[in-house]
């Protein structure tokens, strides 16, 4: 069998996508983008597998790698967030350029070498898939390569143990019960009530937007501690303060204009009431 034109076109188009995806995985600055690029590359690889008759592998590639592993990875990245940026400073001068050069050189060498191999035809696919692709794989995995398959189990156990060792933090003391926590709060005398909710009425209800105190400053208490530690709080307090000040200025001008002109239709109103939270909301609504 030789490669058909369709497959060739498919290969060259998707090949470029795969390589770009791989480069993107390494080059993107944000972890989410990297992960998406990787997912793209994996899907392309899956298409390659399918095109070459490795149906099971292609499907597994999509279902397990792209579907499960990569999506799980994305979830982790999005939920936990990876904010610590790698230091991209070169410690040895010219190292990066040298590395790129060497990489390109090695790549060219490899490509040239493999291209020299006279592989104009491919064979053996029909025999391999003769009894069905899955059956053929199963036969190999459970007979010839059963030992390799079994010791892969050790790899999985090691991976699980390793993940636990490197990430699981066992508590050093008993966690405080709810009762103890509430008692502690009362004893300390602060935040006796539940914590105030985040968000600003009628404008935001996102958890990363702090609620505002009456003077327009954001309240730390309203935002989840984790987000605060990570510096992911969206601060709208400054804008609010500006708006309040503008409102006060306008109302001052208005009041002045009224007293100069027709007296005071709303004269009985106390100016100090402006500091009320409701007014802020009003101002914000305007």
């Amino acid at each position: 069998m030789t490669t058909s034109t369709g497959e060739a076109i498919q290969f060259w188009v998707l090949g470029i996508v795969a390589v770009l995806g791989a480069l993107g995985t390494v080059g993107m600055r944000k972890a989410v983008h990297s992960a998406l690029c990787l997912a793209g590359t994996m899907i392309v690889l899956a298409v390659f597998y399918l095109a070459q008759g490795a149906y099971f592998l292609g499907i597994v590639q999509i279902v397990v790698y792209t579907g499960a592993v990569m999506m799980l990875f994305l979830f982790v990245v999005m939920l936990v967030g990876i904010t610590a940026a790698d230091s991209l400073k070169e410690t040895i001068r010219g190292q990066r350029a040298a590395a790129v050069l060497c990489g390109i050189g090695f790549g060219i060498l490899l490509i040239a070498g493999i291209a020299n191999a006279s592989l104009h035809r491919f064979t053996g696919l029909a025999q391999a898939n003769a009894g069905g692709n899955v059956e053929g794989l199963a036969r190999l995995v459970f007979t010839t390569y059963v030992w390799a398959f079994e010791i892969t189990g050790a790899l999985l156990i090691t991976a699980a143990v390793g993940a636990m060792v490197l990430t699981h933090r066992e508590r050093t003391e008993r966690p405080a019960t709810q009762r103890e926590q509430s008692e502690a709060r009362v004893r300390e005398g602060r935040n006796v009530t539940p914590l105030p909710a985040p968000g600003v009425f009628a404008r935001h209800n996102a958890v990363d937007v702090p609620g505002l105190l009456p003077d327009g400053t954001p309240s730390e208490l309203t935002v989840n501690q984790t987000l605060r530690a990570r510096g992911q709080v969206r601060d709208v307090g400054g804008e609010q303060e500006r708006r309040v000040r503008k409102l006060e200025q306008r109302s001052d001008e208005y009041v002045e204009g009224v007293t100069e002109g027709e007296g005071a239709p709303e004269g009985g109103r106390d100016r100090s009431g402006d500091n009320d939270g409701a007014n802020h909301a009003e101002g914000a609504a305007k």
């Binding site: 008759g53 149906y55 490899l110 070498g113 493999i114 020299n116 191999a117 006279s118 592989l119 104009h120 035809r121 491919f122 064979t123 053996g124 029909a126 025999q127 898939n129 009894g131 069905g132 692709n133 899955v134 059956e135 199963a138 036969r139 459970f142 007979t143 010839t144 390569y145 059963v146 030992w147 390799a148 010791i151 892969t152 050790a154 790899l155 156990i157 090691t158 991976a159 143990v161 390793g162 636990m164 060792v165 490197l166 990430t167 699981h168 933090r169 066992e170 050093t172 003391e173």
Partner: protein
């Protein structure tokens, strides 16, 4: 066109329509459990260790893990001896587990070596008398809690609570099992999987130092990244070799290389494509050279050796070298002997560069662990000269050298764990000045190890070096021997420098103290000294053993 379509759709359609009875039954694989028992015992012990971690109370884990590890390894060694006594090392050697694992002399010899190394390493892992008692708990060389941020509050809490990472024992056992399969692997797939099986635990172990944790984690990441890279190269090479030979089994590829294989029509087109063979073989060898830390694939060695907890470094330096050289020998002697005119010049170059670079860079080192790392690189070069011989004496000399080298290395790193100051191990060489005055015995022991590394007669290092050089000279590689001798001289310079420091310099007033070890570490060191002297003075028995174990099964 319709025919192809039918073939394509056979996956979904024809299977459903076909009579299930028509499908030939898949034969049950035949696995010789008795012959694989050493590996299986170690795996079993490792799994038991994981279960202990999961279910045993914290206080009981240390003793339990230690017992399981020691008993497991001892049982595995007993099983190996039983196999060898049954003649599997010579007459009855064959390929087990459906062609995946060879049970032959080199495999059993190397597995035995690895198991013994692991046993000694277990002792050093379990050492708890070196660090001062922290909050009433004796502590070992491993982080109280690997997940705690270095220097953070959680870490202090974990130390106060007396946590220890007893997971290191099952991890060690998994690594050992992988290493036992690695030199015995008889197909490339098993080779790759076992490479991963022993590498992954090592990456983890590297990250678990109690002191200087950031350095330890950096070492781990570095090792992991470069290791993953080399694994990828190895895998690529395997794919190309498969493309060349149509099989991943060692014997099968060797047959194709020799031209004795029956050419199936399926392979008629690809086979004989030397480009695939050359590139594939080169890449597989590269992957293995990375593991043996040969120049130019050595860059990770000093950093990882320095950063990893010292007991782990000792284990890695000894056992990985044994496993990887075993695999390299089998690959070159079983799979690619027909290609020796192609790979020998390359290996010549690698061996020369490895010896010379390892020795020269070592001269400038100021840290004991880095020094030993470069020395291990130089030793990889010496070992390669034995590999190049392509003769039975080449195999046996490398086997012998590995035994001699590994126990001395373990002992050497065990000594490094003993010399401590307030910040943990005092690895900077300047701190070792005058050690011979403060504790003559320890300094003398370390001097013995260094002399063995330098290859002074009457030590194991000399016997080993003589064996590999002799094999190389008989294989016609006399220039290589000369280069080896010259780099030995360079290497001797920096070993001697350390001895000079220890004995002829005045001790510093703020110098390190020497911790009094428990019998665990003492055993490791004593064994190192014993091996050094026995293999130096009366190596005959072990040379015979290595000589008898020098035939690969195919």
């Amino acid at each position: 066109m319709s025919a192809t379509a039918a073939a394509v759709h056979s996956l979904w359609t024809t299977r459903a329509l076909a009579d299930t009875a028509a499908t030939p039954a898949i034969p049950t694989p035949h696995i010789e459990y008795a012959q694989l028992s050493p590996v299986l015992i170690v795996f079993g012990a490792a799994v038991l260790g994981v279960l202990i971690e999961a279910f045993a109370p914290r206080a009981a884990r240390y003793a339990g893990q230690l017992a399981v590890s020691v008993v497991g390894l001892a049982a595995a060694f007993a099983a190996l001896v039983a196999l060898a006594a049954d003649g599997y090392a010579q007459g009855r050697s064959h390929v087990a587990a459906m062609g995946a694992v060879a049970v032959d002399g080199p495999a059993l010899f190397l597995q035995g070596t690895i198991v013994l190394i692991a046993l000694v390493a277990t002792f050093t892992f379990a050492e708890r008398r070196l660090d001062p008692v922290a909050h009433g708990n004796r502590v070992d060389s491993f982080a109280a809690q690997g997940s705690a941020v270095p220097g953070g509050e959680q870490e202090q809490k974990a130390v106060r609570a007396g946590f220890t990472t007893t997971e290191v024992f099952p991890l060690l056992l998994f690594a050992v099992a992988g290493m036992m399969i690695f030199p015995a692997a008889d197909d490339l797939l098993t080779l790759f999987v076992s490479l991963e099986v022993f590498s992954l635990p090592l990456y983890l172990l590297c990250a678990l130092a109690r002191r200087r944790r950031l350095m330890s984690q950096e070492a781990s990441v570095k090792y992991f990244l470069l290791g993953a890279f080399s694994s990828a190269i190895l895998l690529f090479g395997i794919a190309l070799l498969y493309g060349y030979a149509g099989t991943v089994s060692y014997g099968g590829i060797a047959d194709v290389v020799d031209g004795t294989a029956k050419l199936t029509p399926a392979l008629a087109n690809t086979t004989g494509n030397d480009a695939l063979l050359l590139i594939g073989g080169a890449m597989v060898v590269m992957g293995l050279l990375f593991k043996v830390a040969a120049v130019p694939f050595h860059m990770w060695t000093p950093d990882v050796y320095q950063g990893a907890p010292t007991p782990v470094t000792g284990f890695m330096a000894a056992a990985v070298k044994v496993a990887a050289f075993g695999a390299l020998l089998r690959l070159l002697y079983v799979v690619l002997p027909g290609m020796r005119w192609d790979w020998r010049p390359v290996m010549w170059g690698v061996a020369i560069v490895t010896m010379v670079v390892g020795a020269i860079i070592a001269v400038t080192q100021t840290d004991v662990k880095r020094l030993l790392a470069y020395s291990s690189i130089a030793h990889a070069g010496f070992l390669l000269t034995g590999v190049i011989a392509v003769s039975p004496s080449g195999v046996s000399s490398v086997l012998f050298y590995l035994v001699a080298y590994s126990f001395v290395t373990l002992g050497g790193f065990a000594v490094v764990t003993l010399v401590r100051d307030a910040g943990g191990e005092a690895t900077h060489l300047s701190k070792w000045a005058g050690l011979g005055r403060r504790s003559p015995l320890l300094a003398a022991v370390f001097a013995v190890f260094l002399l063995s590394f330098a290859g002074i007669p009457l030590t194991a290092g000399f016997s080993g070096k003589f064996a590999v050089f002799k094999a190389a000279a008989q294989g016609g590689a006399v220039p290589l021997v000369v280069v080896g001798v010259i780099s030995s001289a360079i290497a001797a310079f920096f070993y001697i420098r350390v001895i000079v420091m220890m004995f002829f310099q005045e001790p510093q007033p703020q110098g390190p103290t020497v911790a009094i070890p428990s019998p665990l570490t003492s055993t490791a060191i004593a064994l190192g000294v014993a091996v050094t002297l026995v293999l130096g003075v009366a190596p005959q028995y072990f040379l015979d053993l290595a000589g008898k174990a020098g035939v690969f099964v195919r």
